[in-house]
């Protein structure tokens, strides 16, 4: 069974694309291929002109560390690190100094509207707070590309829209390209472009 077949798309730098489709349509597989955590059997993924599927494992990890941020539907945070430590993680992986890390973490906590939540452990946070911290962590290292796989699926609509707006605002301010998978129609309306997938194939483009 092919999860994806004949999918071809292009996203401009700083753009905002939504992948729409029912469960099993291939949204997650496409996101994973774009993000390098899954290798396509055929075809290529080019990010800023670099074909990522031909990179060695180490080179791919370095690329992901520097250029890609992921937000998943659930379980994004490391349970044994505080919110601040979770946000700082990508900065540590990119060898930032402690001064830069502290400044950036404080800045992001303010931007997501949770300035005091740094010392809290993940199990102490609500669903919405968890996802906001996950967004902050995904963007902490100012990646080129943010991939969000149904980040609002487990949230109520108001919270979900709030998360989406934070993501769009932060991405625009950093010049980060955003690709988000969702089946929420209200969120699709907030995106610049959307692509509908069905059975692993592109069905429609919408601007």
């Amino acid at each position: 069974m092919q999860a994806l077949s004949g999918v071809s798309l292009r996203v401009e730098k700083g753009g905002n694309l939504t992948l729409v489709g029912k469960s099993g349509s291939g949204k997650t597989t496409l996101m994973n291929c774009i993000g390098g955590i899954e290798r396509p059997d055929t075809g290529s993924v080019l990010i800023d002109g670099s074909p990522i599927q031909s990179l060695t494992e180490r080179a791919l990890c370095m690329f992901q560390r520097r250029h890609i941020g992921f937000v998943f539907q659930r379980g994004n945070l490391l349970s044994f690190l505080t919110a601040a430590e979770n946000i700082a993680l990508p900065l540590h992986l990119n060898d930032a100094d402690s001064k830069t890390i502290n400044r950036r973490v404080a800045e992001l906590l303010n931007l997501i509207g949770l300035p005091d939540i740094g010392p809290a452990m993940p199990h102490e946070l609500s669903g919405g707070e968890l996802q906001r911290v996950a967004v902050a962590r995904a963007l902490a290292h100012q990646p080129s590309l943010l991939l969000a796989d149904e980040p609002t699926a487990n949230l109520d609509s108001d919270t979900g829209i709030g998360i989406m707006q934070i993501m769009i605002t932060l991405c625009r301010s950093q010049g980060c390209t955003m690709i988000m998978a969702t089946h929420d129609l209200e969120l699709i309306a907030l995106a610049d472009r959307s692509i509908r997938l069905r059975d692993g194939m592109t069905v429609t483009y919408t601007d």
Partner: protein, 391 residues
């Protein structure tokens, strides 16, 4: 510098994982801590058993070192050295005991009764009568010899040397039984001067302080007397005891190895369960660009830290238990009363040695590293997407 910083970072993450998952850490550590404590105590006990066998064997009669054929003009004081508690002077004369028409061949040893009673345990093995006093002509013989000759306490028995030069009367003042055939039927004791043996060379029984190496003292004597006289340690004179002691160490090492094999398998299984429970987090890390090597390093760091924590507690517990028992000892007389190597006392005093301190924790560390292999492979070989799909 960057590599060092990164290594420190992963150690910090490992520490936070263990510290903030205190319940899992405590449960995982309990197994290792108990194993280290138990094996440390068992090692100390094994050393104690060896000490008891040596102590029993040397203190009964022979001493740690035996010096042979020392000329009469050499005083026993010249054998004093650092680590030597005492030197007992003994003169051996081979011959026959005659009682009526019965004869028994043996060696009579002339001793200094007061010193012998102080430093050897033969006196405690007297089953009838008393140990010879300083008075000449008193004889202590084995109970089995007396039975063979049909002699009893206070009987006068005659001793003749091998050359038949003399035949002197001796009065049986005591009977003893050690359970060691060589001592019971081939030797008898009388006080110095009881036999006409002028100019006889003498034998030294040298007793050492605990922990002093007999070989070191023998080297000292060899240098002092220019290898003129022969000195042999208990290990040379009692090769069966030496083998038993070595066997005890080997057995203990095998026990430690087997226990830690089992414990490390347990730790690996337990860690795999913990990792499977939190595998999504390792998948998230991979999606963030953490390499397989770094993930494996994280797991190894977690296991090493947990091992250090558990081993420290295990050492404290094991040492406390050993110190507690060290004072009173463990009385195993019921299991050793017929054993020649426990002829004096069946009480075992555990002793902490580098073997006891070092081997269990070292094995714990080694096997913990082995235990890290399976979980590390589990996480490293799976792709991030695979892991994230699992949960």
């Amino acid at each position: 510098m960057k590599t060092l910083k990164r290594i420190i970072f992963w150690w910090k993450i490992a520490f936070l994982f263990l510290f903030r998952s205190m319940r899992s850490t405590a449960i995982l550590s309990l197994m290792l801590m108990t194993a280290v404590a138990a094996l440390l105590f068992l090692s100390a006990l094994a050393v104690g058993v060896n000490d008891a066998m040596i102590r029993n064997s040397v203190s009964l009669y022979a001493g740690h070192i035996t010096g042979f054929d020392i000329p009469g003009n050499i005083q026993k004081e010249t054998l004093k050295a650092s680590g030597v508690i005492t030197v007992l002077k003994r003169t051996n004369v081979s011959g026959s005991l005659i009682f009526g028409r019965k004869i028994h061949e043996l060696t009579i040893t002339e001793v200094e009764p007061h010193a012998e009673l102080t430093y050897t345990a033969i006196g405690r093995k007297v089953v009838a009568g008393t140990y010879p006093s300083e008075t000449r002509g008193q004889l202590l013989i084995g109970w089995s010899i007396a039975r063979k000759l049909g002699a009893q306490l206070q009987d006068t028995i005659y001793f003749t040397d091998l050359a038949g030069k003399y035949k002197i009367p001796l009065r049986i003042t005591g009977l003893y039984r050690t359970g060691i055939d060589q001592l019971d039927s081939e030797i008898a004791f009388c006080s110095s001067g009881s036999l006409p043996s002028p100019g006889h060379n003498w034998t030294a029984a040298i007793f050492l302080e605990e922990g002093v190496s007999p070989d070191k003292i023998i080297s000292t004597y060899d240098r002092r007397f220019h290898n003129q006289f022969q000195f042999k340690s208990w290990a040379t004179l009692m090769p069966d005891l030496k083998q038993l002691i070595d066997l005890n160490y080997v057995s203990m090492s095998i026990v430690i190895l087997l226990v830690f094999l089992v414990v490390s398998l347990g730790i690996a299984c337990a860690f795999v369960i913990v990792i499977l429970k939190t595998i999504r987090e390792y998948g998230i890390l991979k999606a963030m660009g953490v390499t397989s090597r770094e993930n494996a390093l994280l797991i190894v760091c977690e296991i090493i830290l947990m091992n250090l924590f558990a081993t420290m507690l295990g050492i404290l517990l094991g040492v406390a238990l050993s110190l507690l028992v060290m004072e009173t000892g463990i009385d195993l007389t019921a299991f050793t009363s017929h054993n020649r190597y426990f002829a004096v006392s069946g009480v075992i005093y555990p002793r902490l040695t580098p073997f006891a301190w070092g081997v269990p924790p070292a094995m714990a560390f080694l096997f913990s590293l082995l235990a890290a292999v399976w979980p590390a492979i589990l996480v490293s070989h799976r792709r991030a997407a695979e892991i994230l799909r699992l949960v």
